[in-house]
Symmetry: C2
């Protein structure tokens, strides 16, 4: 009988693990709650109207369609039975048990509000297609509301955008909103001057782009300044509601900022599956809820179970795409070696391939080893890296076309706001359908 | 003071009216509940994963950005005060009164279930971006559920797709599902043979494509047969629920069809604004709820108010894009003539530019005057017409690229199903935001 490998999650960790098993004598099953592979680093391009959701979220089964030893199953994993070696998943009340011989848990994480889950109401994160479409409606919708507002004084809160968290996602998001208000939208509106919109980037830490070289972060700061983004460091967000944000530590004038649109780019939490398997296996969780694994990425006492990517806690590695890809490949490699009779666990060694953050068109910062690049050259590196890692030839061509439109034409083609997003849902739908399934709950 | 023209609705009627006023000495305000112009004839391409929503729904303000005498306002029209000449609109509880000197009502319509609104739960229509994204999730999701189902016998209802209504939309939808199950999806799945999926097209009338020449409809029937679509004419749908459809008049074996996915392409109802202005002006409604207008498209006794497009009842004209465009232009022309001092009302004369329906790749039927074309030549006409009328150069290039992918590569790039569409919404959001606004209701 064939060795069965189940992979939970089709993100970078899961997908790279599956592909690394393509020539192995195994049967691979990828279980994912959406069945699309999400290219998370470009979610902000969906949220700001540059790319469509399809371009960054190809179906996993489509990516793997030539890999005959791999199948994909839609399902939200409810429980992993480590003793029985079975993964139990649900969709719309239908339950499925998928047995495994080896298991790779690549379930990733979600937005963390650091104990303030009530912020989620007013400040969506940026971790899923749903988040991106929600933010797209809010960002473009805010300008619509400002244009519609007869009292100029009442336009301010609609014309203020707050991004909480100045890591790569927050910086990139702030830069994109700054560009679209100045260039894309300006000639579309009659009553408001969209270029007067305020973009405020808040972070509690003393530097933007944590993990980047301080001088490179300084250059990114200057570019953000040129775009008109107001950056406040050492600023802790203590409250968020519909009308604005409360801030501490950034001067008295900042205690309360009126803003309708808030974007949370501050924290990542681990999937709750982490706590579940840690409890079942007697493993430890780190402060972020990630599972502490052995040096070979396996679960202590469960050599057949690997935890990779954002859910893995090992050597303080950051929760970035590169770590997910490499740890996924490492886990797959361990399984392959074992099937060849080599039971010696090899430690996972992360090769840091550098970091890149794009601030505006033609401006990105890149660090790779001791190399530091900012500006146009950095942006070309950014473009190259994202084209290479974007999944699927068709998506690459399509994205390149849309990038050209946004860069040279200053336009964004994906700006649709739906009736439901503005006015609410009209028609409730039955529960046992995909789509609208939330209404029964 | 400038003559103020308010246009309700930015569909074909409203947009063509606004453009026809670009050189007139007027101030145009387009009020729309979404602010995008929707190219409805291609909604089925969004529902079947070929095009993205942005490609067929550009912002009206973006389409009109060079027309300096035009502005666009987001708002759902709650009331038209014909005596005071004011349009009152709402968004998220904010009210706005927009005064007019001339008014063009181009509010269009919605899906009609012929008194069975409860069908909407299980059989979405195809009139909005929300509908298309909902159907996209249901269609692609149904194959996911079938693949996941361990019991082959239980897969049937997930592998059965029922399209109610065999007009152009229903025929095109059925043809697209037929093609994607055979070509796009086949190599992506492991347990199910997607090409075995049943597509059933039902209509109570004796012919598909009502309004088309009978011989052309016959050719379309043969092409549907070649695609494996089961067409049942004279079949009245008497019930729809989560599990299937009840049918009368199509033989005993069809009394009950088990199918998870149902698509309603059968009826169009007029916007409720029609009934409101008819009551206020003492005008009549036709059986479909459309407003009976004078031959110049104006409201009886209210020469400054025009009703155009799907909401207009005049000479039994059908509710198609061509009628909307031409009647919108006619109303705008009346306003221009009046401003030049020519008060003589001119009757609207519709020039039938023909009909076209695409059945499959390389196959469409076209009639224009006495010309009848089917097959590849018809399909080239279809392609040309849709490229010409699709709004915006960038959208044309982008759509052409995605059509090439779907035609030559047999692939569809817009197949994302979101977490919320499968598993329901996780995070409720505040009411006074665009996006998620429905949750407060």
């Amino acid at each position: 009988v064939t060795h069965r490998v189940v992979i939970i999650g089709g993100g970078f960790g899961g997908l790279f693990a599956a592909r690394h098993l393509r020539r192995a004598p195994v049967a691979v099953t990828v279980v994912d709650r959406t069945t699309h592979h999400l290219f998370q680093p470009l979610l902000y391009h969906v949220a700001t109207g540059i790319l469509s959701e399809g371009e960054i979220a190809p179906p996993i089964r489509s990516v793997l369609h030539r890999q005959r030893n791999a199948e994909v199953v839609l399902g939200e994993v409810a429980q992993i039975d480590l003793a029985a070696r079975v993964v139990r998943s649900n969709v719309l009340g239908s339950e499925l048990a998928t047995p495994y011989d080896s298991l790779i848990v690549a379930a990733g994480g979600a937005t963390s509000y650091f104990g303030h889950d009530e912020f989620a109401l007013d400040a969506p994160g940026l971790k899923s297609i749903d988040d991106a479409l929600e933010l797209r409606a809010r960002i473009f919708g805010a300008f619509e509301m400002a244009e519609r507002e007869p009292e100029p004084a009442a336009r301010g809160p609609w014309m203020t955008f707050i991004v909480v968290g100045a890591g790569a996602t927050g910086v990139e998001m702030a830069g994109q909103i700054a560009e679209l208000r100045r260039h894309t939208l300006r000639s579309d509106f009659r009553r408001i001057d969209t270029s007067a919109a305020r973009i405020i980037l808040l972070d509690g830490r003393p530097q933007i782009l944590e993990g980047f070289d301080a001088r490179l972060a300084e250059r990114a700061m200057r570019e953000l300044g040129r775009l008109g983004v107001e950056v406040h460091l050492g600023a802790r967000v203590t409250g968020i509601d519909e009308h604005g944000v409360a801030v501490e530590g950034a001067g008295p004038e900042l205690q309360r900022i009126a803003a309708r649109t808030k974007i949370w780019a501050a924290g990542v939490s681990a999937s709750p599956l982490g706590a579940q398997i840690a409890a079942a296996a007697g493993a430890d969780l780190d402060r972020g809820g990630r599972v502490k694994v052995l040096p070979d990425c396996s679960l202590p006492g469960r050599p057949e179970v690997f935890v990779v990517g954002d859910l893995m806690s090992l050597n303080d590695l950051p929760g970035v795409a590169e770590v997910a890809m490499q740890s996924g490949i490492h886990a797959a490699g361990q399984i392959r070696r074992r099937l060849r009779g080599d039971d010696e666990p090899r430690p996972f060694r992360y090769r840091d391939l550098g970091s890149v953050a794009s601030i505006s068109r033609f401006y990105a910062v890149v660090q790779f080893g001791r190399i530091r690049v900012g500006g146009l050259l950095g942006w070309l590196v950014w473009l190259f890296v994202h084209l290479v890692f974007l999944t699927g030839f068709k998506n690459r061509v399509s994205a390149l076309f849309h990038w050209a439109i946004s860069i040279f034409g200053r336009a964004r083609t994906e700006r649709a706001i739906t009736i439901e997003q503005v006015h609410g849902r009209r028609v409730p739908t039955a529960e046992a359908q995909i789509g609208e399934s939330d209404l029964g709950r």
